[in-house]
Symmetry: C2
Subunit: 321 residues, 2 copies
Amino acid sequence: MIFDFFSEIKTELSVVEDELKNAVKSSDPLLTETATHLINAGGKRLRPAFCLLGGKFYNFNMDKLVPIAVALELIHMASLVHDDVVDSSLTRRGIPTVRAKWGNRISTHIGDYLLGKSLILISRYEEPLIPRVLADTSVKMSEGEILQISTTYNTDQNIKDYFYRINRKTALLISASCQLGAVACGAPQHLHQSLRRFGHHIGMAFQITDDILDMTAEQIKLGKPVGGDLRQGIITLPTIYALKESSDRNRLHEIIQKIDKSEEEVHEAIDLITRCGGIEYSAAIANQYIAKAKKELTKLPDVPVKKTMQIIADFIGVRKF
Amino acid sequence: MIFDFFSEIKTELSVVEDELKNAVKSSDPLLTETATHLINAGGKRLRPAFCLLGGKFYNFNMDKLVPIAVALELIHMASLVHDDVVDSSLTRRGIPTVRAKWGNRISTHIGDYLLGKSLILISRYEEPLIPRVLADTSVKMSEGEILQISTTYNTDQNIKDYFYRINRKTALLISASCQLGAVACGAPQHLHQSLRRFGHHIGMAFQITDDILDMTAEQIKLGKPVGGDLRQGIITLPTIYALKESSDRNRLHEIIQKIDKSEEEVHEAIDLITRCGGIEYSAAIANQYIAKAKKELTKLPDVPVKKTMQIIADFIGVRKF
């Protein structure tokens, strides 16, 4: 497990893990197989962890926390699966090959199935804030995804556009995770709102760091080729900065807009971005969010997990994977 | 408007239509455009209509009915959009699908967006039965879709498998529509359960008729090529019957299992199915469901729309489009 600092909630997280497996069981063998495969593929379980940690701030109660913790991970998994749906170029006479078609079919319906299962869990709660926050988050997550698609290769984006997009894509669900654990345990508004803000700052820092790592990490640690965003035309913070500040911004612009980039061109673009300070600038922005998150923590009651949340905040600022 | 017998709720349906348009508005222009395209592509609005009719049986209240009526149509639309992703359909009701116009990725996210919007509407209700029924229905709809994928080209399916599948694919949401209109208006259990059963029978008859029309309708009325199910390897009731009863069942089996069928082969298969009585048999089964639906209606209080629901039941048994 990568995130050792979840050791305080290790037992609770393993309960969530078991319930996650139970939640996706179906009488349909294909469905059980694919959903189980997804779960076993792992993931940091960041959202359930934040949910449980949030619950530690007020009348921690696992019966109340487990369904929402599982639901949050299911929503996250569904969004990842739907993200995998691609416009396959593997077509013959305008019709996708069986292989390409099968992949998309499974991805779409498995995603819907996971979302449906999360709804079943959410519908157990009488507190109306839980479905409301998650409904709002779902809508905005979809908006973020569509915005990412429609702004691909668009070099006119500014920092504000980027923040708007990553808030929807990532920060909102992390924010909801921090908030709703406390809500499920019956926490008062000032407490769960404070956790929500903490989650927002952490979520923003997390995505900015992710976007930095997409350019700087070693391929083996990233688990995918470096420069994936650039290849797909996704404009992230380091690129936005470099498009404005680099002396070679015309060349960078030219590479970014190419649909088919060579390995050399991707590395040339990363090099241009790095040399003009795009990585450092982005890391500084991430660190500003970390600082805001830690400041928000000072408003929260002094419970043992508060230290853990500080460590998580620091870790997100320096993580290498 | 095809379904003239909704004239009794014409004004109410136009309110739902306006709210449907409002519900999908977004600050993102692409999102507003695609969602509006979907709504303007039309549809029978069968689910909102059933929901409103259900409400007519108990303290009819539009404030309580509109959000759930809109939510039901959004869930239906989301399932159609996601269906278009997987089936590679380029037209629906004679109009280009979102996928054909904007691609698979957009379709997936538009579907999620519509689902999210339906959740926002559902989260307004305090009655826990509404989210619970819809969550359960969503999961089962996905199960039905995945079952349809995993049983494609599988000629071993029996009638029971078919009923299980179309219940999930179609009948459950129609059933929920009939039930939840009454639930939203505060109807007692025996009433909304009776409406639920009515909806189940109507929904089953509706899908069986749809599957018959896929073989018998003129292309212009269907808005898509005849024999689409056979082409895609989807085994429906007339085919299941013919695979058992036709003297040419070996030839039928052979055609069905071909991935690339010629026009002639599709028409040969339809001819084989028709000649052995597969269409008549399926129509008889649909009519049994209609009869059950009408019998269920006799248990319901005598309100004016009851007559309308009888006419709808009869219409589904004989519809040509």
